[in-house]
Assembly symmetry: C2
């Protein structure tokens, strides 16, 4: 017997038939003796429709009213899911954010969870009742509905799992787990049985769209064991766990890539103290996320070239901001290149192994792939290369780090 | 300056453009200095979709979960309406049933309102804020959402009006008021400026679909002045008020008709004590509403003919129930006639005037219309006639009682 939170996203509850299928999946866990809390998103498409209506009404709308409108999607799904469970003989009841309550701060539209009072849910586990909780929503101290931001249902599920001290939080999705690399590109990619929170965090922020970064952080902080698995195939997925739970750690767990990058080079920037702050300050004010930054040593001590990346969608805005500062910053010109991809090698094993980066550089050099920018953290190495090499780079690195399925 | 509740039904808020138009209508009252609380239904079609989903999931569903699902419709509208008001410079906020709270009993799906705690809404009137309340929904003592039954938003509006001691409760709808008769049939029908609660109650139960009977009862009990008016045309509608407010009362206020009647005759029923109870007991158990009942005096003291009406939709079920009781009840045969219409003359003035019924019978006789069944109350006379005469009967009576527009 285990206590489990099972979270189902919008595609898993997209219509009545799928809601019925999810109910059957939940029943199997109940029949196996588990205590189950189900967390659901809105039916696929519903949230988009509701958001669209709020935009039509008023582009600059009150975030409190936005939350009232969009939280209706999950309200519909919890009721239907509780009915579907009851219909196959499973005792169940729905819980809205304000009923639990799932207490959040009052930053409407992207609230943070502060407290989950789940005593009543736990008490009802003792009576064999399944809790069906609306994801994505909470309640602020002024008694008004809040939402957690897009994808917030993962975070709701993890917060509930922490509050009820669950043995596991299962995130059901349309993929069957976390892979060593994108299986659509790297045909030899393998599904990982386990991955550490830290690696999952890096993967999530590097372009793997399976889990929201925030939910992984929360799981890591509260040591909630996460499982990513398919809602359509009945098979174990990938466990996201503490490093200590992984007995034989590979050096590298996966190769990620992100095409949403654009490279900017400021040519001949005056090499003065404070110049970096002067450049990146205005970008931060414009909410543009600067990622990889490289500054070359200046040859003449007077001017240097500065290269960095921004999200591709923000390229036009970035050029606009920089153009407005040209006089003040004193650089010669801006060069922009949107045709780049960021390739990252991730693994907690690299902390204790030397030569991990070298193997990456060598593998890329062997294929004649030129590295434009490099950035590293404790458990990942990222390089920027021309996006024409995306597939070649991913496959070569996958082989070089011994990740290929046999 | 007045304090007004304005209620808008599903067709008035059917899409974003109409919600915007309603917001403009509300703004005009605010600009005129009124304190306004807006009550809205779900966007037309939404509730039907939600109800359909609950039926698909499970025909015998938990009414508590049904309420969670269907109340989402009004939640969407209040948020959008508050935004639409804010967008044109009107301070507004949405209120869900549980936020006010609109306290009801725990009969989910058709709950009755017990208490409305509207102090905060009144306090915010003082700050110039418009309250936008979700109709149709409340909260039971167990902290779960309830709904009031179809059309319950009218009742929500009247309950709120009573709680905040409103000067008037305006029910905006797709007709521009209450008419002396159905204007689609009687071209000389006139819009009434005023009508009494009692008359409105009779009209509502006799087929006028403008107001829910329950909301009129509530308005009568709390002396809430109701106005029925068009949400599409900017003109005064019909006031539903206390009899004392009507200075010159006509004898008859209107001629109503209902085609949803079927006539049943049990031929040669044994004329024993208790036979009526034996017949109508099983029908009541089957939730079939029996309306007009006529029992002829038996000629031989042994058997009589018993005639009554039921809603046309329930005719098949009625015949089934009676068929199963034939042996026990001992009647000879059942005759059924669905081709009938109930025509009613309504007016509080008939209390103090003699000859009102006579004028009806005479007008019908003059046109050769045979009266099949008669039933009367203090302020109405209803007759059942062949439905081929519907238009002729309505127009003749309208003229006979001097109601024709000049």
């Amino acid at each position: 017997m285990a206590r489990i939170v099972q979270k189902f996203g919008g595609t898993s509850v997209a219509d009545i038939d799928r809601i019925r299928a999810v109910a059957q999946r939940v029943k199997r866990s109940v029949d196996a003796g588990d205590e189950v809390a189900v967390v659901v998103s809105a039916m696929a498409g519903t949230t988009n429709q509701l958001v669209e209506w709020t935009r039509e009404i008023s582009p600059m709308h009150d975030a409190r009213e936005y939350d009232v409108v969009v939280s209706a999607g999950e309200q519909i799904t919890v009721g239907l899911m509780a009915m579907a469970l009851q219909n196959i003989g499973v005792d169940a009841r729905s819980w809205l954010g304000w009923q639990i309550p799932m207490v959040t701060d009052d930053v409407h539209g992207r609230a943070r969870i502060e407290d989950v009072k789940a005593d009543e849910i736990v008490r009802r586990f003792g009576q064999g009742q399944v809790a069906v909780m609306a994801g994505f929503q909470g309640i602020a101290s002024d008694n008004r509905i809040t939402t957690l931001g897009r994808g917030g249902s993962d975070t709701s599920a993890v917060a509930l799992a922490a509050a009820i001290d669950a043995d596991r939080c299962d995130i059901f999705t349309d993929v069957d787990g976390i892979y060593t690399s994108d299986p659509r590109i790297v045909t030899r990619a393998r599904k990982l049985d386990r991955i550490t929170y830290e690696e999952m965090l890096e993967m999530a922020s590097l372009g793997a769209k399976v889990l929201q970064t925030r939910s992984v952080e929360l799981a890591m902080n509260h040591r909630v064991r996460l499982q990513v698995l398919s809602s359509f195939i009945d098979a174990p997925g990938t466990l996201v766990v503490d490093e200590e739970e992984i007995v034989e750690q590979e050096i590298v767990s996966g190769i990620a890539h992100s095409g949403n990058e654009a490279k900017i080079t400021l040519v001949r920037v005056p090499d003065n103290p404070g110049i970096a702050a002067a450049i990146f300050g205005p970008l931060a004010e414009a909410s543009i996320n600067v990622d990889m930054i490289v500054q070359n040593v200046s040859e003449d001590g007077k001017a240097t070239d500065l290269t960095f990346t921004v999200p591709k969608d923000d390229l036009a805005r970035t050029l606009e901001v920089l153009g407005g500062q040209k006089e003040k910053l004193g650089f010669e010109r801006v060069e922009a290149d949107p045709d780049v991809v960021k390739i990252s090698v991730v693994g907690v094993g690299m902390r204790s192994h030397a030569g991990v980066a070298l193997r990456m550089f060598k593998a890329l050099a062997d294929k004649g792939i030129n590295i434009q920018v490099i950035s590293t953290s404790e458990i990942k190495i990222s390089v920027l290369v021309s996006d024409a090499y995306t597939e070649l780079a991913l496959r070569s690195l996958h082989t070089a780090y011994g990740l290929d399925a046999v």
